[in-house]
């Protein structure tokens, strides 16, 4: 087994037993990135020099006998939305293509405290707006299972880097499914925690009330280890929850007897690919065999989730992206007047989808339209949240498909934004309701493309999700399959 093929759990053991050094591991990972990057385009920046330096430093600490974190010396990649002090952070937009952050995001600070090794910044849809990674200023990411296809988005680079063994763990963000949909389409584990579980400080904002950070891993255990390292209250983020973070690994048990798993009827509707429905139903059957109790539930406002999301998210985005005006940092177009500079900078600096969403968001907040759109959407959002509250009266966790289809072809939906938006139909409600959701592999279609299963839980019950996911993963083999690269 090559070092880059290891899980974090395995690598960490080898590192602590000194069978492997972080330098060797990092070098192997960097080599792997170099070999596969031309095919996949998952990285927008490889921080080789910094990575080797960090790896050596960790090896030295270990040699001195210091007690180290399980993530110490582990090569990790970050979506290019996380601010990294002194390291270019672009959000895959032309408008930030020259931006060097003056500070670290809280997630990065915490990872540094864990002695992680940053191997690079990962490709994504511009400002996390997209479901196929085709909206990146740096070009699309390819799906390692089929290079003609999208890995999903917006955190496409973060999902692919795990699927293709380009790093051992990665982080992304999820505003409407941007971790879970690419995890599903790329065949890896990804979790969007409860809103407020992980600090958003230093993460380039798309839609502030929906954005949440989460990890990608090769296994449920790895995802749990990664989440534990970054979760918790941050005084710099007023919306982060002041709650203790449990040791998630303590909940990784194979026995799920008596666990009540809800299956919402609204998630098995027309338009869902047969292979996806079949794999999801089989996974549910499998859970039943493991001892879980399957409960039929209803989430009646599901059909309003996509329109509600596109009102709330675009409204917030239109405001969040106002700061990219050419005045303080980032791209600035040459112009004669201030107004002209604003128009040209933003006209040239943002891509098509970002501009589409800014315009939509500006419109829905405009005087005379606010009540009909933004306010109404906020009210529907409350109804969606209440749907889940009543559902969780009947069950402990909810299991659903992640995306109606497996990976679609690059270019297939770029000219049809509505079709593209529907790709997130099963993930969007979770963000609107601020709930945690994990995706893990549960099968493959006839084309050999991965299918992901989504497990949703009540607020701040990530440990319960990890429990069921672990039990399922440990009794199936899906996660062991690797793409043919």
């Amino acid at each position: 087994m090559k070092p880059y093929e290891l899980t974090i759990e395995e690598a960490s053991k080898e590192l602590s037993q000194k069978k492997l050094s972080s330098l060797e591991l990092t070098q192997a990972v960097i080599q792997r990135i170099k070999e596969t990057q031309p095919k996949l385009n998952s990285f927008v920046l490889v921080t080789e020099e910094e990575a080797l330096k960090s790896a050596r430093a960790v090896d030295e600490k270990r040699a001195q006998g210091q007690a180290l974190s399980v993530l110490a010396g582990i090569p990790i990649g970050l979506k290019d939305i996380f601010l990294t002090k002194g390291i270019r952070t672009t959000c895959c937009s032309k408008i930030l293509s020259n931006f060097i952050p003056p500070y670290d995001s809280t997630v990065v600070r915490k990872l540094k405290e864990n002695d992680f090794v940053l191997v690079g910044k990962l490709n994504q849809d511009e400002f996390a707006m997209g479901s196929s990674n085709e909206n990146s200023f740096y070009g699309p990411v390819k799906n390692p299972w089929d290079l003609e296809r999208t890995p999903g988005g917006s955190s496409g680079g973060s999902a692919v880097a795990i699927a293709a063994d380009q790093c051992l763990g990665s982080f992304g963000t999820d505003t409407g499914g941007s971790i879970r949909q690419p995890a599903s389409l790329s065949g890896v584990v990804g979790i969007k925690p409860t809103y407020g579980r992980v600090s958003r400080y230093g993460i380039i904002a798309f839609a502030s009330s929906l954005d949440q950070v989460g990890p990608f891993g090769k296994t449920v255990t790895d995802a749990a280890l990664l989440l534990k390292a970054v979760a918790g209250h941050d005084p710099c983020d007023s919306t982060s929850a002041n709650l203790a973070v449990p040791d998630y690994t303590k909940f990784l048990k194979k026995d799920v007897k008596g666990l009540k798993v809800g299956v919402p009827k609204e998630y098995f509707v027309e338009g869902i690919e047969q292979s996806v429905e079949k794999a999801t139903r089989e996974a549910i059957e499998h859970m039943k065999k493991l001892g879980a109790k399957i409960v039929d539930i209803s989430l009646p406002h599901t059909e309003y989730a996509v329109p509600t999301y596109y009102l709330v998210a675009t409204a917030e985005a239109s405001s969040n992206l106002a700061r990219y005006d050419g005045v303080k940092y980032g791209y600035r177009a040459k112009a004669q007047t201030l107004q002209d500079m604003y128009r040209k900078t933003r006209g040239e600096g943002f891509g098509r989808e970002v501009k589409r969403r800014i315009m939509l968001g500006t419109f829905v907040l405009s005087s005379g339209y606010y009540d009909a759109y933004y306010k109404k959407a906020s009210q529907v959002r409350t109804l969606i949240r209440k749907d889940f509250e009543s559902a969780f009266q009947k069950c402990d966790l909810i299991v659903t498909p992640t995306s109606p289809t497996t990976a679609f072809k690059l270019g297939e939906k770029v000219d049809d934004p509505l079709q593209m938006y529907l790709s997130d139909i099963f993930t969007i409600s979770t963000n609107l309701a601020a709930l945690p959701g994990l995706v893990l592999p549960c099968g493959f279609d006839q084309k050999g493309l991965p299918i992901g299963l989504q497990i949703l839980g009540p607020h701040f019950k990530e440990e319960a999700i990890f429990h069921l996911a672990y039990a399922y993963e440990q009794s199936t083999q899906w996660h062991t399959r690797k793409p043919p690269l």
Binding site: Y103, I204, A205, A207, C236
Partner: protein, 477 residues
Amino acid sequence: MKDTTYEPVIGLEVHAQLKTQSKIFCGCSTKFDAKENEFTCPVCTGMPGCLPVLNKKAVEFSVKMALATHCQVNERSIFARKNYFYPDLPKGYQISQYDQPLAQKGHVEIQVDGQTKKIRLHRIHMEEDAGKNIHGTISSYVNLNRAGIPLIEIVSEPDVRSSQEAGAYLRELRSMLRYLEVCDGNMEEGSFRCDVNVSVKPIEQKEFGTRCEVKNINSFRFVEKAIEYEIQRQIEVLEGGAKVIQETRLWDSDQNKTFSMRSKEEAHDYRYFPEPDLLPLRVAPAWVEEIKRTLPELAKQKKERFMKMYQLSSYDASLLVQEKSLAQYFESVIEICKEPKLASNWILSELLREFGPEQGATSPVTPQHLGELLALIVKGTISGKIAKQIFEKMVQTGQAPQAIVQKEGLIQVSDVAQIEAWVEEVLKEQKAFVDKYHAGQTKLFGFFVGEVMKKSHGKANPAKVNETLKKKLVKGA
């Protein structure tokens, strides 16, 4: 032409900078004197990924003003984003409050021409200040030191009916802010700013006329002038058969005129929506009660107390309470000299002449020293005239009056024998005038007093001099 009497209807919006140590959403200093962009950080410069964290002190200061103006403090209020593009606004939106402000429905009492009038407050809300654009010859610059300084916006109901009332209202607000020590109220430095909404209507008409907002007014005098100009301008528009256009106008203090900045059609659509990066602001009633208990006596109450306790005139009392520090100074002086009227006279004439109301209390003449000086007068150790000389020295050196008295040998002479000697000498020297006096020119008495004082180098006790002179002049007759 029919003879219409017009009535102005005026509403005021005041922006007051709160003098917290740090900014409203980050830890940067709020100091006024600083190099360009010295007090900035990723949060107040609108770096990607930054998030605001509310400064509790700013909330406390805002609640103080809300309580002082009898507002209802809302247990739950919401921050909102006000979106517009401008280089001094780094995030492209200002964090403010919109439909759910911190406080509502208050009032302020003002005095105009001896009449008391209540001006109702519509609301008080919290927000962040913007930075400043600086325009050079070739380039423009942005200074973000001011960006993120906490502000409260105090919005009145349209209850003001004259420029005089507007002035009184603003002075009252400023005094309250300064008494509460939440804002230094400096209009020139921009820590107290005012926008005025003015409309006029025929006096018998119920509905208000179309209003204009006047911005950019940086002194009380200009507020009054701008309102007067605007009332006159609008009346002329109406008299000319035209209609007032709703617009924003700027005050030009060089030309003493307002001119149009933008019309209603050009007005911004700020696209307010709740700030998702901040939780609703919850102000617990228990905390409000706690803050209420710390509220100081305000100028109005203090003035009433001074009039009652110290038998001061309304005029003197209002001068003493114009600054909280001055009022405190006054009371410290009384504690030592025990003579309120004397203390008031000295402070209002001597101290204010030297230092003015704002610097009086922090001048080299400490209240302790002034109290001691006045006590020396009361005891008869020195004369009022000598006291003034000593006061001059105290202004220059900051020394205690006792020390100056000793050093300069200025103790008043009340010894009868000594005074008699001086009197006799004078009467001898001024024989001709003594005769005139006896011939009926009794006005010369003052002249003799002056000569005796001169002889004593001002140290003779004037009362004793008077007494002795009277005796001697009669005796000699």
